[in-house]
């Protein structure tokens, strides 16, 4: 942290004598390890107490919504990866569901189940990165290495499926990009069945760590009403006692067929958010096991030749398939005019893409309702009136991704 400007004395009433408080304006970021990206916060301090906190965002703004208007419908999938780079498959899914709603496509069961399986692995991936960095912020270094050890396995799985570790673009409009690779069940099964014991390891490390416990319990409390009014979604709201999960309340992609519970904690502090996310990882593990065991047979692409690329073999032998292939590749497909919004529960909360089509092969407008943007608005409420050392714990517990905030 670097001090910006000089310390300024408060109003004359509090005086300048011995023992008097002095206000100080402190610039935190944009380059600071515990801001988890390029976030700048202007703090006004009275001793160690934060009087006001003003977040300054936009350092990572790359105009993704503007770029999307210049691309074809299918090409936009690649941009959604780059919005929230820790939950790429959740973003792919949210975007595809909205466009599929406009197109009126029916997705075959296998593709739906694969989507559930992959987004749940994404949730585990994102929570592992959160846990590792959050624990590191609070001085528990070992957990970071353990979490990234498991995360590496997940990235290998993503690479196996899509050829990419981070920017997967595996979920496409109309289904999936590719047939799952040979031996994927064994690879996913091997990883996912070993995960619960790994989560036990993290919990043992942190729950027996008095520093971690003291720095998280009772810190950064906010009520549900306040969180909802500020636009906060996801684990933060569930850690304040509200059982609201879009997978249950507005099921998409066959989530209603899976058996899982929504973790809720009443406390609303940093420790409750930790507990909720740890239990969410266990629930995601259960969902992945169910998806693995009950994976339906069939196609991974919708029966919509005007949208989905034909199989290579068909393209080479059938005239009609060749024409469709040519049309989709050269000019893309048209989406009926209209507007649609399908919310999805990403690891951070509600993500949804409000897509507006004017009937052409490019989107007219895509509004990205990203969870981190809404969640970060609660930062002043979390900081103000608390100690500056607690602000680091509060900041980590929000689990935002700056790419998701700035877009």
């Amino acid at each position: 942290m670097n001090v910006q400007g000089n310390t300024v004395p408060t109003d004359p009433q509090s005086g300048g004598g011995a023992g008097a408080t002095r206000r100080m304006t402190l610039n935190m970021g944009p380059q600071h390890p515990s801001t988890h990206g390029v976030l700048r916060i202007l703090l006004e301090l009275d001793g160690e107490t934060v009087l006001s906190a003003k977040p300054d965002i936009g350092f990572l703004h790359t105009g993704i919504e503007k770029q999307a208007e210049a691309l074809g419908w299918q090409q936009v999938v690649t941009l959604t990866d780059r919005v929230d780079y820790l939950a790429n498959l959740s973003n792919n899914l949210a975007y595809c569901l909205s466009v599929e709603k406009l197109l009126g496509l029916e997705i075959p069961p296998k593709a739906q189940w694969m989507r559930v399986l992959l987004t749940e692995i994404t949730r585990i991936n994102s929570h592992l990165v959160w846990l590792g960095t959050h624990a590191l912020d609070l001085g528990a270094m070992t957990v970071f290495f353990y979490c990234f050890r498991e995360r590496e396995e997940i990235l290998k799985l993503f690479e196996m499926f899509s050829g990419q570790r981070l920017m997967t673009s595996y979920i496409r409009i109309g289904g999936l990009a590719l047939e799952p690779p040979l031996g994927w069940e064994k690879a996913v099964g091997g990883f996912i069945r070993g995960l619960p014991s790994k989560i036990d390891e993290y919990e043992n490390l942190l729950k027996s760590n008095p520093i971690f416990m003291q720095r998280t319990q009772g810190v950064g409390k906010l009520s549900v009403e306040k969180l909802l009014a500020l636009g906060v979604t996801g684990p933060m709201v569930r850690a304040a006692g509200l059982s609201w999960d879009i997978r249950k309340s507005e099921p998409y992609s066959s989530y209603e067929k899976f058996d899982f519970t929504v973790p809720v904690e009443p406390e609303g502090d940093v420790y409750a958010r930790y507990l909720v996310r740890m239990r969410e990882m266990r629930e995601s593990q259960k969902i992945v096991v169910q998806a693995l065991e009950g994976m339906p047979e069939g196609s991974i692409k919708a029966d919509a030749p005007h949208v989905v690329l034909p199989d290579r073999e068909k393209m080479k032998t059938q005239m009609e398939a060749l024409i469709y292939h040519f049309k989709i590749v050269t000019e893309g497909f048209r989406v009926p005019a209209g507007e649609a919004y399908v919310p999805v529960e990403s690891p951070r909360g509600e993500i949804g893409f409000y897509v507006v089509s004017d009937g052409t092969s490019k989107p007219h407008r895509i509004f990205m309702r990203t969870p981190s943007f809404g969640n970060l608005q609660s930062l002043p409420a979390l900081f103000e009136g608390n100690l500056i050392s607690d602000s680091i714990a509060s900041l980590g517990s929000m689990d935002f991704v700056l790419g998701d905030v700035d877009r």
């Binding site: 965002i57 936009g58 703004h61 105009g63 919504e65 503007k66 770029q67 208007e69 210049a70 709603k101 406009l102 009403e225 909802l228 009014a229 500020l230 636009g231 906060v232 509200l242 609201w244 309340s249 507005e250 209209g338 507007e339 649609a340 919004y341 919310p343 509600e350 949804g352 409000y354 507006v356 007219h364 407008r365 509004f367 309702r369 943007f373 809404g374 970060l376 608005q377 700035d406 877009r407």
Partner: protein
């Protein structure tokens, strides 16, 4: 005035009973209810929906630019009631030469950044907003990038000047 399927929704009939003149139209498309609200009534309508119909949260707020059609801007409000598991879309039409509408930050504090973003990227002004300044673009930026008449390439800062 409103389609029959839309009038059957309880929230919509309650809103019409509250202030019929505020709603100028609407549609129910693919299961999503959309209401067009008269520009000067939006804050009042939002307050009613929050207090009487339990729309505790504003899920999002954005603008759709229909350039060159007038009225050019459509301000979109995505409302969500967690307790009743209901979603509702509101829209307000704004002409290009007088793009201002009342802020709803008094109803949901979470509207703050969404309105700043809409102002920054579209140039729509929200009257009564406590701190309406740019949020994504640099403070000295000229123009509003998400408007349809703002070029994707060819801007003076663009890496490709074509």
């Amino acid at each position: 005035m409103l389609p029959e399927a839309l009038g059957a929704i309880e929230t919509v009939s309650a809103l019409e009973a509250f202030n019929e003149a505020a709603v100028t139209g609407g549609e129910l498309s693919r299961g999503e209810a959309l209401l067009w609200i008269r520009r000067e009534k939006i804050a009042e309508v939002c307050l009613f929906l929050r207090d009487e119909r339990k729309f505790e949260r504003l899920s999002g707020l954005t603008v759709i630019d229909r350039h060159p059609i007038e009225p050019r801007f459509e301000v979109l409000y995505l409302l969500h009631s967690v307790s009743r598991n209901e979603r509702l879309k509101l829209k307000v039409a704004l002409p290009g030469d007088a793009a201002d509408v009342a802020s709803v930050t008094g109803v949901w504090p979470g509207a703050d950044w969404y309105e700043r973003e809409a102002f920054d990227l579209f140039g729509v002004r929200f009257t009564g907003h406590p701190d309406l300044r740019r949020i994504m673009m640099p403070h000295d930026w000229e123009g509003h990038p998400l408007r349809k008449d703002f070029p994707t390439h060819g801007h003076k800062y663009s890496y490709r000047n074509d």
